[in-house]
């Protein structure tokens, strides 16, 4: 069931106001709407929201859709910042445009590509979708940065993310190559890991660039 973009924005703000900020409803002013607003009427027709005294209430029927709207928005943010490297206001603006394209399973694909992120770049939670729950049930860990591993854990190097060529060369010359086994032995005060029989210490900045496929 697709609604207009404006209606999606309303649902999103409504979800944040009620679910995350604990309010029971959101005022017209906050949602940027007035009586007789087309998008608002659309939501009222669907019985997803109710309006009393210029305050909009989210009805149980609309909860699911509101939740997924927020999810799509935050997934879009993650895509902009992590993958496309669009940060700041520019990234936010693009995410707002992009979220409306994430229908019919595109969000699931994107979520899997991003390895089921749980928070947006601003630290707000991303409501999990069915794909996240399924991945959790199957125990799939996917690919994570070396910094996410605990001391003693091991895995296979999946890829190096660094945009800095010198860093990349340094890592590769230390034997940090996709396909090699890596054992993290220590995370503090520096990251210490073994590749083959050699041991290396790197700082957080370098450890963040190494992505690992966990092994259980």
């Amino acid at each position: 069931m697709n609604v207009s973009e404006k209606a999606e924005e309303i649902l999103e703000s409504l979800w944040i106001a009620t679910e995350e900020e604990g309010d029971n409803a959101a005022h017209f002013e906050r949602l940027g709407v007035q009586e007789g607003d087309e998008a608002l009427d659309e939501l009222k027709r669907l019985a997803w929201v109710e309006v009393k005294n210029e305050r909009v209430y989210l009805r149980p029927e609309g909860r699911d859709e509101a939740r997924m709207t927020v999810r799509r928005h935050r997934l879009a943010e993650r895509l902009m910042m992590d993958v496309l490297d669009l940060k700041g206001a520019d990234g936010d603006a693009r995410a707002c445009e992009f979220e409306h394209l994430l229908h019919r399973g595109v969000d699931t694909k994107l979520c899997t590509l991003l390895n089921h992120p749980t928070t947006c770049p601003h630290g707000k939670p991303i409501p999990p979708g069915t794909c996240c729950e399924q991945a959790r049930r199957e125990g799939a860990t996917g690919v994570v940065a070396l910094t996410e591993l605990k001391a003693g854990e091991q895995g296979e190097i999946a890829y190096l993310s660094t945009g800095n060529e010198k860093k990349m060369q340094k890592l590769m010359s230390m034997g940090v190559l996709p396909g090699n086994e890596i054992v993290l032995t220590r995370t503090f005060p520096s990251y210490v890991f073994k590749v083959g029989y050699s041991e290396f210490a790197v700082d957080v900045d370098l450890a963040k660039e190494i992505f690992i496929r966990r092994q259980n």
Binding site: L160, E165, K166, K167, M168, Q169, K170, L171, M172, S173, M174, G175, L177, P178, G179, T185, R186, F188, P189, S190, V192, V195, G196, Y197, S198, E199, F200, A201, V202, D203, D205, L206
Partner: protein, 659 residues
């Protein structure tokens, strides 16, 4: 006869062949170098210490070889200054033989560089070193299979245990330069390589395929070289490179590395077996303890307590100095020498110069031999022991976080710790740091807050008489070190440092290595620093005779008053510039004369430690960092020293501590 002699000379002339030792840091290149040449060199466990290139020579079966130890490198595509030096050597002075030394335990990781050397068309002999430790891990090697597959001579060795040296020599003598190995990458990569290689027309000393690969990877230095050699042809080369670089923009470096890994995997099939039991890994356990902050910091304190305080402080600066200085020089040598000069020298100025208060012999030589030598000597022994055990990289990872706050990375512990021995030498070693910013900050901190062993010895002795003074002094030094480091990290522009370091296994130090390292450093110290003692003496004598010294001391008196110090302290500061320890020793005289209160003593010790480095350090600073930077550091350090002294005096008097 004559004819024969001439002929022989000719053949030795021609037979001077050049051998390069090449390989990663920590694989035993330097040990092999020593074993082959028997020359003194710095053998190091700390990646990157051997920035300088060591040359030596050896004779095998009547043939003379020049042997060069190149700085450690991970790949032919250089990143650090050291790697650039090593690569340049290979390119600019083509070797007759390259000994590629690798660590048997990490053969899989190091073999890709062997491929690069082979692909460059260099005459390579592979030395699979550290076999003993690999065997202890249960690894077994079939090096004949490896030799056959690689197509170059392969020798197994454990150079530290002098195993395989005979075979290495035999491989050097028996090397057949006409035998060349070849291997190839995936077809698409090969196509690109030969496309660039076919555009190259000049002669580069190494194979065009290797040049092509490096060009593809955008090696700037090499691109410049090729631009120069190719002239008008370069446009075609550049066009080919640009096109290929664009086509492969996504993963070129990775692709090449993975291709090499694939080739190596094939080569190593049937070469390594894992069997036998692993021996109990005591060094692994100990290694874990040194890297865990909860146990590592206590271990560090133990090392400092026994290594620095007891061995250098008590034994070196105490027992040995007492014996040499008070016993030998004061009792026997100096009285005898002064007596002799008095009897035989008719001119007063010459007497003053040789045997007077600041005389070359009575002051310069006595200080150098009886005070500084034992202290610096014991420090270098302790330092070399710690270095050879492989402890420093662990220390580096332990302090990296703190050092990042002061604009350095963990790597910088080496020069900083060395500074406690000799700041001058440490200033030279700052070369191993990667960015200019780090080198500058390290130089500044060495000049300011790190007392050298000679100074440390006297100051510790001086302050231990007053309870609490040592604490105030130590606290001020640590505080200022961190504060100034923190400030300069904020103020200095430049790249943020990045920390990565190989952690070699902990090993029992080998006596031979420790001796060689210590002797090399002592030799350096004597050649570089001893003359400065003499110069300092001469300057002091001239100053005394002309009255310039008195004028300077008088000029400094108002400053002393500001610090709340007696006027006599001025002399200690003036001497302090000639040798940091002269100054400390000058304070010692004042203290024994009962001229200093506890507060004055503490203020004087703090100011003196912070005060301008000795002449030698200043000259080295100028050489390493240039006039502008070194004069800047000089000014900042002087201002800080007196500023801090002034404030500390006020503070201590106001609070009433130590009074």
């Amino acid at each position: 006869m004559k004819c024969c002699a001439a002929e022989k000379e000719l053949t030795t002339e021609q037979a001077q062949k050049r051998i390069y030792l090449v390989g990663n840091p920590n694989v035993g290149k330097s040990v092999l170098f020593n074993a082959l040449t028997g020359a003194y060199t710095t053998v190091s466990n700390y990646p990157g210490t051997s920035v300088e290139v060591f040359r030596g020579s050896c004779e095998i079966h009547g043939v003379r070889y020049e042997v060069l130890d190149t700085p450690g490198m991970y790949s032919l595509l250089p990143i650090t200054e050291e790697e650039r030096v090593a690569r340049d050597m290979l390119l600019s002075e083509p070797p007759d033989l390259v000994l590629h030394v690798i660590d048997a335990r990490n053969i899989e990781r190091m073999l890709p560089m062997t491929l690069q050397l082979i692909e460059a068309g260099l005459p390579v002999v592979l030395v699979v070193n550290i076999l003993d430790e690999a065997e202890r891990l249960g690894l077994r090697f079939d090096l004949h299979v490896l030799e056959e597959k690689l197509g170059i001579p392969v020798v197994g060795a454990a150079v530290r245990r002098r195993r395989g040296l005979k075979e290495i020599r035999a491989a050097i003598v028996g090397f057949d330069p006409d035998e060349r190995a070849v291997f190839s990458y995936a077809a698409d990569l090969e196509k690109d390589i030969s496309r660039i290689a076919s555009c190259l027309t000049a002669d580069y000393g190494i194979d065009a395929r290797a040049i092509a690969l490096l060009l593809m990877q955008r090696d700037e230095q090499l691109t410049d070289l090729v631009r120069g050699r190719e002239g008008d042809q370069f446009a075609a080369v550049e066009a080919a490179i640009n096109e290929i670089a664009f086509d492969r923009r996504v993963d070129l470096h990775l692709r090449i590395s993975l291709e090499r890994k694939r080739v190596c995997k094939g080569v190593l099939e049937g070469v390594i077996r894992q069997d036998g039991q692993k021996a109990f890994d005591w060094s692994g356990r100990l290694s874990d303890l040194t890297m865990n902050p909860w146990t590592g910091i206590p271990i560090l304190l133990l090392v400092l307590y026994f290594g620095l305080y007891h061995f250098v402080g008590n034994f070196g600066a105490g027992t040995v100095v007492d014996f040499l200085e008070a016993g030998l020089f004061e009792e026997y040598i100096n009285p005898w020498f002064i007596e002799m000069c008095r009897n035989w020298l008719p001119w007063n100025w010459l007497f003053e110069l040789l045997a007077g208060e600041y005389g070359i012999f009575t002051l310069g030589v006595r200080y150098a031999v009886a005070i500084v030598l034992p202290i610096v000597g014991t420090f270098f022994v302790a330092f070399s022991l710690i270095e050879d055990s492989g402890y420093f990289p662990r220390l580096a990872m332990l302090v990296d976080r703190v050092f990042k706050q002061i604009g350095l990375n963990g790597r910088a512990v080496i020069p900083i710790v060395l500074g406690f021995g000799c700041d001058t030498m440490a200033t030279i070693v700052t070369r191993t740091l990667e960015t200019r910013r780090e080198r500058f900050i390290a130089t500044l901190l060495l000049a300011l807050a790190i007392p050298c062993s000679a100074q440390l010895g006297v100051i510790l002795g001086l302050l231990s008489a007053v309870p609490g003074a040592l604490l105030v002094w130590g606290g001020t030094m640590v505080g200022l070190f961190l504060f100034i480091g923190f400030l300069s990290a904020r103020l200095m522009p430049g790249e943020k440092p990045m920390f990565y370091m190989e952690i070699p296994p902990l090993r029992l130090p080998q006596p031979r290595n420790v001796i060689v390292k210590t002797l090399t450093r002592m030799q350096w110290y004597f050649l570089e620093i001893f003359p400065l003692f003499i110069i300092a003496s001469v300057l002091l004598v001239i100053g005394k005779l002309t009255g310039a010294l008195d004028a300077l001391v008088r000029g400094l008196r108002p400053v002393m008053e500001l610090l709340g110090l007696p006027a006599e302290a001025a002399a200690a500061f003036i001497f302090g510039f000639f040798r940091r320890d002269f100054g400390a020793a000058g304070l010692y005289d004042l203290q024994t004369g009962g001229l200093l209160s506890p507060v004055q003593l503490t203020v004087a010790a703090v100011t003196l430690t912070l005060f301008v480095p000795c002449v030698a350090q200043f000259l080295i600073m100028k050489k390493e960092r240039g006039w502008k930077a070194s004069l800047g550091i000089f000014l900042v350090v002087t201002l800080l020293a007196f500023g801090v002294g002034f404030s500390l005096n006020r503070l201590l008097l106001a609070v009433g501590v130590l009074a």
